[in-house]
Assembly symmetry: C2
């Protein structure tokens, strides 16, 4: 039975559509990124990354699992991990955004063909999972801890939501609705009182409610949010905090446990809070996010310090060595922070989105779009081993990007986020338009006074100059708000005359005529960055940032290991011919028999080279030139 | 069929009996620790720890598994993890050493009773494991990766070896021999070409060869050593280095992968190398050990940096935060270093044994002997939760000592090592007697010239004064060698007159008469210790050591968290009334919204208290006074 789907023209291709909040989202119909850093990545996504992902999942049989289900060849022919179905759904979501972004008909045909293979495997009652439920397989929902059935449904529903918002009703939308109905039937108020080991169904059901208006999905999402945190999943060796089942989300004070699970849950809880008018829950998620940014987030925006349990560390425990900083946790952080930006208008969330976009999202894919970081260390001690083109890597073993992983959430999370990225750049409110992220782009926004058209011209982050030309504007005063990042002390806005503006939102309120130009100048000189002294891992070290980009030192630029480099902070980093350079001395370090001793340096320093300038590269570009050692945080000369 | 066992009177209660080497071991019959630090721990072991371990394993049904096997109640009545049998064997080994040490008849009766329960479960062909081989259980050796069957046999054989060397032939010795024969039958040259996921059988079979003279055991140990490292176990997500199956042990250059597995394997490889006259293999193990001490060992002697995979990190990757430093890896390090000390006479191995004894072995058990550290972090950021007396803890979750763990190798490894510890204190060679560790003790040693009796009088490490009185000596010159630890610059030996001695072995060669006294004075003033600059985790920090003890700062002594303390290294630490104090200032640290900024300290430092003296405690004593935060490495004032 078909379901009512809000017309895609009303959805504007928006990835998140809350019914209330300080700011209102724009969508892929409203914002087009036309050139520069993110346009390049979107083109790479369209030309290569999405296809790369599909080819791998076809080759490994993960897509074929759906055919095998139809043909009765399961479980014997099943391939991949228990959550592999979700990877196909993330890919479908990426394709849906991509079709919405460009109208690419070939991509649309690929999406339909893939959706049809998925749809055929759906059972009459809406259940759909290639890992469970058949003779020889585990029973449905027999392993809520690790089975990921509801997690898979969540990503299926998100694919349906993306398709509904960019295209309208379609086969994958109906598959998603049937799956959601099934979930509500089984896990509803009178049903099984369980939750999934991996949150994701919450955010998906809340969004499906927004698409369909059917409150049953919202109520089910709320049930899942409220059930969790009471030990309903039982204990495991990693502890119940691993899947956020130790403390109810409305009582938690900071993100904890498995980082991706934590941020996915927070995104779902935020959506539930907004739609259910639950301001206590919304405030809890906002507090957790702000506290996590203050104490448990890497300079890159990355979240999750530990390899074990892929989890958050304690406050200020942010080791550079083996920083886990899973790519998917970065994607999830963008999901949460964007929702909170819409809900509260707090610029800190837009700052966090930008930091994470440049230094996690953009770091994962290789320049050629054919390999990806799963984890994002901030310190590489030993040059990594390049995985073969045909090799499936374990999730975190390689220190180079890998073509594919046994657990391949990260590449698929990249593709869906990159395809929908334009939506994160601008919003509206009753009074005007807010620009949160900057790229060469066009923006069309409806505000109460009428329709605004903007052209944004910039090479940001190459340059910090951002020109916003008004192409069309309604009569009367309205406000153009331009985000000034927290790092951009000394920024100016030129609107007629130039004026200094503080970090936050620089507001230009007046009547606008076509051809009016407002210029934001962000200071892009590279700068030293120090850490809170409780971040023990980087004591005696500094990082370098340039605009939104975190820089790093890579051994390929030294012709030597990075271990001996000591920087001098008595002078600022400089930029020459587009390259960032820092004053540094290189120490000779000798091997000993015991690395601890009664003098500073423990006797290991045997000499040093002359002071000179050492080049850095943006962190998101590291490891594109073969195996290397790398540091984000650089020891200072004592 | 009984087997020939070397008479215990010839074994002297020695835990390790190599047939060749630079030094010859003494045993529990030769060395008695009579008072002081280690005597106290041995008494606690005898009075409390061994009984505590047995009571827990009885209560949890791990011992009952053997009864259930006999009574046909497996698998339904089986309790505990797949390797729980091994815990009973470690306990039997501890009991055997304890009976050997003291002759305690009650302990002997308990040992016999427990051994009888184990013996009854042995199958006619020698196989013995409560987890495998019965209807409803996995087949024998169907899971060499994780099943731990050969690992369990290894500990069973070590229990038999300990009993043989302290008592002579006995039921548990025969059980061990039958098990060893079974292993040789199944895994021999023409048999199954497998190895166990967890090394241990190697060292055990080599020792059983030493006990029985049956070369078949040595050959089998050698087979296991040689087979490993060629990917015979296949790959796992953690990588083949997890169980040292990536590189043959004779080609490895440093310990890698799971730390306990690595050091157990090294101990077995060393024994095989010695008995098989394989000097290449012995040199490989020695090089790996020396390199691991130089690059991959904590100040405490602890090994293994990562929680994930319980594994070694890269060179110089030694985070204080969540340092894994598993207690069992410390025990294994003592095993390896003691073997290499005997083989090579290199004092570095005796230094490593002492460091590990005081700062890992002694750290694990609580003052009351009723709870244990499994991991040994060097930085506790958040006060831990005290486990209930009746609660079984996950292996690494609690930051306080726990009464028992689901994986309880550590308490049992402590009990067997503490009971046999005296053997590690002294050795002989053709020329005399070497004292490696110091405690109030008596030593009887046979050297070619005759029998030496010594009385060692000291309160070490309270005092650094060690008096060695010769009670009996053969005629003619011989050498009394006293280890001067690497940290003991400024040590003196008084033999008639005082003379300065360098770290290494201070040799006193002369004829001795009863009543002669040689005095070693080790400087015990607390000292600052710095790390090699490649140990990034402790950059800008110093530790304090006093003699062999690593000190730490514990919040219970501050009445505040340890995070704000900054030490002044312009003055030395001092000792007053037996308490070590360091000059320090305490910073006020404020919360912010983002922990990185454009000035040192990132704006978090809002004030500081007056300079004063802050007390430290030995690391091995921390967390005996309830939940606390703790640091070994202390940030210095900038």
């Amino acid at each position: 039975m078909p379901v009512n789907v809000i017309a895609p023209s009303a959805a504007h291709g928006r990835p998140v559509v809350p019914s209330r909040g300080r700011l209102r989202p724009l969508g892929l119909d409203d914002v087009q990124i036309t050139d520069g850093f993110w346009a390049d990545l979107q083109r790479l996504n369209a030309s290569t990354m999405i296809e790369h992902a599909q080819a791998w999942m076809e080759r490994l049989g993960w897509i074929g699992n759906f055919d095998a289900a139809v043909e009765g060849r399961l479980p014997q022919d099943r391939r991949g991990r228990e959550f592999s179905d979700s990877e196909i759904y993330k890919l479908l979501e990426a394709m849906a955004w991509e079709v919405g972004r460009t109208g690419d008909e070939q991509m649309d045909a690929r999406l339909r063909a893939l959706a049809a293979r998925v749809a055929r495997a759906q059972e009459p009652d809406g259940y759909l999972n290639t890992m469970f439920g058949r003779p020889g397989q585990g029973e449905r929902y027999s392993d809520l801890h690790w089975g990921h059935e509801l997690y898979c449904f969540g990503h299926l529903i998100q694919a349906g939501v993306a398709r509904a918002r960019t295209h309208g009703d379609d086969e994958i939308v109906q598959v998603a609705v049937r799956a959601a109905n099934h979930v509500c039937d089984v896990f509803g108020p009178e049903g099984r009182q369980g939750v999934d080991g991996h949150p994701e169904i919450e955010v998906a059901l809340a969004e499906l409610y927004r698409v369909t208006g059917d409150r049953r999905y919202l109520e089910q999402a709320k049930l899942f949010v409220d059930r969790r945190g009471h030990g309903v999943l039982g204990d495991i060796e990693l502890g119940a905090q691993y899947f956020q089942d130790d403390v109810p989300v409305r009582e938690a004070t900071v993100f904890d446990g498995h980082a991706v699970r934590a941020v996915y849950l927070a995104a779902g809880a935020a959506d539930v809070a907004i739609e259910a008018d639950d301001d206590e829950l919304l405030a809890a998620v906002a507090t957790q996010t702000v506290t996590t940014l203050a104490r448990r987030t890497y300079l890159t925006g990355g979240m999750g310090a530990h390899h074990e349990g892929e989890s958050f560390g304690r406050d200020f425990e942010l080791p550079s060595d083996r920083a886990y900083s899973e790519t998917c946790a970065g994607v999830g952080s963008i999901m949460v922070n964007y929702r909170l930006l819409l809900a509260t208008g707090d610029v800190a969330h837009a700052d966090a989105v930008e930091r994470t976009m440049y230094n996690v999202l953009a770091t994962s894919p290789a320049e050629d779009g054919r390999s990806f970081f799963y984890t994002n260390t901030l310190h590489q001690r030993v040059p990594g081993k390049v995985p073969d083109e045909d090799e499936v890597s374990p999730r975190a073993a390689s220190s180079l990007r890998a073509p594919w992983f046994a657990v391949s959430c990260c590449p698929n999370n990249i593709t869906r986020t990159v395809a929908s990225l334009a939506a994160y750049f601008a919003t509206t409110d009753d009074d005007g338009v807010q620009l949160h992220q900057y790229a060469q782009s066009t923006i069309r926004a409806e505000i109460p006074a009428g329709v605004v058209h903007l052209a944004v011209r910039t090479t940001y982050p190459v340059s910090g100059r951002i020109e916003v030309e008004v192409l069309a504007a309604p009569p009367g005063e309205w406000t153009l708000s331009l985000r000034v990042p927290a790092w951009a002390a000394g920024a100016t806005v030129t609107d007629g005359g130039a004026r200094g503006v503080e970090p936050g939102y620089a507001a230009v309120r007046r009547t606008f005529a076509p051809g009016d130009v407002v210029v934001l100048e962000l200071p892009m000189a590279p700068r030293w960055t120090w850490a809170d002294p409780r971040v023990d891992a980087v004591r005696g070290q500094v990082a370098v940032e340039r605009g939104p980009e975190v820089m790093c030192l890579e051994s390929v630029d030294l012709g030597a290991d990075v271990a001996g480099v000591r920087v001098h902070t008595d002078a600022a980093p400089v930029e020459r011919d587009g390259q960032v350079l820092v004053p540094a001395t290189t120490l000779d370090l000798a091997d000993g028999t015991w690395p601890f001793g009664t003098e500073p340096g423990a006797g290991a320093v045997t000499g040093s080279a002359e002071r000179g300038l050492v080049p850095l590269v943006p962190y998101h570009r590291w490891a594109n030139r073969g195996p290397a050692t790398m540091r984000v945080w650089l020891p200072t000369v004592d």
